[in-house]
Amino acid sequence: MMTRPLASKPYPQTLTSSAEKQTATPLQFGFRPVAPAKIAANRLIRFLDFHELAATTVPQVMVIYAGIILSRFLSAIQRMREDPQHRTNEIRETATRDPLGYALWIFGIPLLQRVFLRFCIPKKYRESLTDASMAPESTQGLRGKLRWLNRKLNPLRWSIPSREQVDNQMRYALEKIKKAGFGEGSAEFQKVHHFYEKGMLRWRNMATLLGWTVTIGLLGVGVMLFNIQATRKRNAQQMKSAASPGRAPVNPAFGNPAVSRYLPPLQPANRVAFAASPARIRQAGGYPTGTLPGRPE
């Protein structure tokens, strides 16, 4: 009994002599020729495609995170609409925390690395650690000039070699010094090694460490403490306004469930606070319990 070949075939196999001859198969799809167009991927796909298997790219993260931040605003608005007290701190906190987080998370490390390498390291290493790329760009016309200006002023356009590239340069240099007749023990080999390892590589590492630590600190602690402090301050202010008889409250809805029921639900509450004129409140049906506490009327 023969075994079925395809199912039992492991890879790779040697060819049998009968299999060596090839038959032409109708694998050419087109029998009616059509003029081939130039291959061009969609511009969006070119930007958003995976560069390697199953690893999300930074442009993808930028799009997904923007969507997530939008949803956080929407959910804060939903909560504000359902909350009878109409307290508005969540929207304000989201508006501080998330866009700042977005900017820091995506641009923080590259930006800090570049600024550090450009301004804070010895001149000997500075030149080879900034402006690593020589991709030609035309400076013709207004757009070219603007592009040139952007390249000079925008830190994200300052190209720096990655750590991997510095490492590659070092390996190449060491290969060559060995070829020149100075083996691994020699002082010359050590000098070249030190130039790269104790110089360039170390400064490059420092740049990453600095960027990483500062970004984490700002993201984790800085933004949060700023938010909490702002919320407390604002709460205190509103309390004070509500308590003092001589001043109008910052937010007439604050702490007054009866009022909030009559305010248009789709309007964000802080807008309501600024826009709450007596006329509008009257239009909305007026105050059910007489005057607003604290209002001089």
Partner: protein, 514 residues
């Protein structure tokens, strides 16, 4: 036109590249360097580490200390889910799609292209354009398929330039400056030898022979600065060409060639057919059902796909290791730019290891196997329109109309076109999935907090309810009335966070919350 001399197939073993032993650097910087290497080596690891150590950990802790359990729970759900959806989920979803659709010939993969043999859209575009240009070149028409293949590989290899060429142009002479003059000259000569073509180097060394050592070093540095163009050295180009043009049954130890799938797949198909005929003969029937439905084209696609997948899992890693080693010692650092024949920038790879030079070589291998070789299968090069046939196989538009056939790859369509359509699906579906999951987290948080508070809606970050806050002294109470009900305990109330203490000092007895 091309700088390379025609290369004969290798006779001896060319698998002579030994990858160097990992270097060891002494001192405490070693550990730091290794850690930075992990963070710097992959942008996703960098982002994940920033997210989980920056956004998840400290934020949850601060919210817990300052605002209590509800706020902390919301924060940890929001940040962890955000991190996973941003950094990992799209990749996971694409893997799941690959597992379902990319490993067999099916409706969504009609040509049986292995999804795992990944080629990014830009590379596909660049390589496809280059190969098409070579086939349609009327100034220097190619004679046959193997010439087209050779020219394509050499075009890519000569067009590669290190992305950090300006950096190494400065750093290599700078590293030479550390040495004594004699050693400096020797070292620089080695560097210049790589950068200049043979005869030019001979001429230069004859010119500077009479000069003093300092003068020699100066001239060599100048020559290095001029000639260091970041390209692969000639020697490395030739060795790499030999790697990419290997035929089946090559003499490279442990490395399978790149041009063998057609032959092996055809052999499998013929063997299967012979088996079916044998079966029919055994059953005394002129033709069995199995033989009647035996589709040679489909079986060929399936066999090719199976072989490709096995190669991806097996020998490809060794191949790429060798290739990247040769490129490394041929002065091509880990990120590259690809230029076309007219010095037009076609492609910039990522800066990092996984997306840079090595990934590009993998993509080149996949392109050769899955597009160049495959489009050439069964082509009669003596026919007048063989180039037209190859182009049709690569880039024929589908005859079907309608939205669905515009979005999804079709069987009657060219390979490149079909692959680009697949790419569209593989990009959008995982991204939309990840975005949707991420976008539902905020609403889930709202629902959970509401449920835990017995249907009462509130934002836990807002501090104590208004009514009690006016009467109660704040510093002796947790910031949120819900804290004690969430079971956080009294320890929290006694030890307030540093920020709260700062607040108390600044505003006096916590009056700010009153």
């Amino acid at each position: 036109m091309l700088a390379l001399s025609p290369t004969t197939p290798p006779s001896g073993s060319i698998s002579d590249y030994q990858s160097p032993a990992p270097m060891r650097f002494g001192g405490g910087m070693d550990a730091v360097s290794r850690m930075v290497g992990v963070i710097d080596g992959n942008r996703m690891i960098e982002m994940a580490s920033t997210d989980f150590t920056g956004m998840c950990g400290p934020r949850t802790w601060i919210e817990y200390r300052e605002r209590g359990g509800d706020a902390a729970r919301e924060t940890v759900i929001r940040e962890v889910a955000g991190g996973i959806c941003n950094v990992f989920l799209a990749g996971w979803l694409s893997l799941a799609m690959l597992g379902m659709l990319g490993n067999s010939v099916n409706r969504y993969n009609p040509h049986g292209l292995p999804g795992k043999a990944w080629i990014s859209a830009r590379s596909l575009e660049a390589f496809g354009g280059l190969y098409q240009n070579i086939l349609t070149d009327t100034a220097h028409p190619v004679k046959d398929l193997s010439e087209a293949r050779e020219r394509f590989i050499k075009q890519v290899l000569t067009g590669l330039i290190s992305a950090d060429q300006a950096s190494s142009r400065v750093s290599l002479p700078q590293s030479a400056r550390e040495l004594e003059p004699q050693a400096q000259v020797k070292y620089l000569r080695e560097l210049v030898k790589d950068a200049l073509p043979g005869e030019a180097f001979e001429k230069l060394s004859a010119d500077i022979q009479a000069d003093s050592l300092e003068k020699q070093a100066e001239k060599l540095t100048e020559a290095l600065h001029q000639a260091n163009n970041g390209k692969l050295t000639r020697e490395a180009q030739e060795r790499l060409y030999r790697y990419f043009s290997l035929k089946a049954g090559s003499d490279v130890v442990g490395v399978q060639g790149t041009n063998h799938f057609n032959r092996l797949a055809m052999a499998q198909v013929l063997e299967e057919k012979a088996y079916l005929e044998e079966e029919a003969r055994r059953l005394n029937q002129p033709v069995t059902d199995a033989l009647k439905h035996f589709d040679e084209v489909k079986e060929f696609k399936a066999a090719r796909l199976r072989l490709s997948l096995a190669d991806l899992d097996g020998t490809e890693r060794e191949f790429l290791k060798q290739v990247s080693g040769i490129a490394q010692s041929g002065k091509l650092t880990s990120a590259v730019h690809l230029y076309g024949p007219d010095n037009r920038l076609l492609l910039k790879t990522g800066l990092l290891k996984d997306t840079g030079r090595d990934a590009l070589f993998g993509e080149l291998k996949h392109f050769l196997e899955q597009f160049v070789d495959r489009a050439g299968h069964g082509i009669d090069e003596k026919a007048a329109d063989w180039k037209q046939q190859v182009l049709q196989t690569l880039n024929r538009p589908s005859e079907k109309r309608g939205l669905w056939s515009r979005l999804m790859p079709q069987a009657d369509e060219g390979l490149l076109r079909s692959a680009l359509k697949t790419k569209t699906a593989y990009t959008w579906i995982p991204m939309l999935g990840a975005a949707l999951v991420g976008m539902s987290v905020g609403f889930f948080n709202n629902w959970l907090t509401k449920k835990r508070n017995g249907g009462k809606v509130s934002y836990p970050g807002d501090g104590p309810p208004t009514a009690s806050a006016t009467s109660a002294p704040v510093n002796s109470q947790a910031p949120n009335g819900l804290v004690s009900s969430a079971g956080v305990g009294s320890g929290l109330k006694r030890s307030r966070g540093a920020f709260a203490q700062f607040q108390a000092q600044r505003f006096g007895n916590g009056g700010i919350l009153a």
